[in-house]
Symmetry: C2
Subunit: 167 residues, 2 copies
């Protein structure tokens, strides 16, 4: 079933195979929960979930193929000669989450994905606009990012006493 | 067809999907032609082709799944907390080449694969044991490895005048 879809790198028009996408994302994908200071917002913080796939610029084409596959996202410069497919926005990310629920990842990245999906669900309901929801997002973000997440740490450290003010 | 195969990270017994393997290797795989000094051999050099997939040790399981998928290779420590699936040996690599000819890579890694496949074919015929074949291997190795390949450079630089002695 898959063999007639896999026509090789020469055929650029052809739609990607779902399992190929899963394998590639198992290797190269990143589910990230950004949290930024945003004084204009009621909570003072903006939650910015993002799905990213980074490649050397020579493989920009495959990022554009994935952009077409998902029907959303932007292909932009990541750093130096690296490009990224970046998908933001709750509506787009809901589609991405649905895809990976139907086609599960096989590496431990699946754990990050599950947490990411929980944040997207929570944001769909607007829960991140309330202190309790924001704290949950911060806890999830801290547990899934292997690098430091200062914003999430700060929310956990400073925010809990202020819940009353936000409600 | 793929959906009933993709049962997720929890189901460890299940066979990998071919397109998943292609996607993962497009991201994480490496086709490498090693060339080592080997005074015991007639040409003085040993050609050591290798297919590698490196992962953090937390994903050792997926490397073992790929080992089972190909029915060959070893899962060994790569460096620190990184493990690698390493497939060596002409018979095993012929199987790997056959797989990627039936299921082509979609990134530019396909170019490296084509060169790798050419070396495997050449070695199947024993051509690398002759000076002309060894020189071809060295040229291919130099064109595919983005890092320095001193052995290949040295063969190209020093070897050509000695072809007569090797025949």
């Amino acid at each position: 079933m898959t063999s007639n879809k896999a026509m090789g790198a020469g055929n650029q028009q052809e739609r990607l195979d779902a399992e190929w996408v899963v394998g590639f994302v198992d290797g190269e994908g990143c589910f990230h929960i950004g949290i930024n200071r945003q004084p204009g917002m009621r909570s003072g913080w903006q939650v910015l979930p993002e799905f990213r796939v980074v490649q050397h610029r020579r493989d920009e084409r495959i990022l554009r193929d994935m952009q077409s596959y998902y029907g959303c996202g932007s292909v932009v410069v990541n750093n130096g000669d690296r490009m990224e497919l970046r998908i933001r926005g709750i509506e787009n990310l809901t589609r991405v989450v649905k895809f990976f629920e139907e086609h599960p990842l096989r590496t431990r990245k699946q754990n990050d994905f599950r947490k990411f999906a929980r944040v997207i669900r929570l944001m769909e309901r607007g829960d991140h606009l309330r202190a309790s929801g924001l704290l949950e997002v911060a806890q999830i973000a801290l547990s899934m990012n292997r690098h430091r997440n200062r914003a999430a740490s700060r929310i956990l450290r400073d925010f809990t006493p202020n819940i009353a003010n936000m409600r």
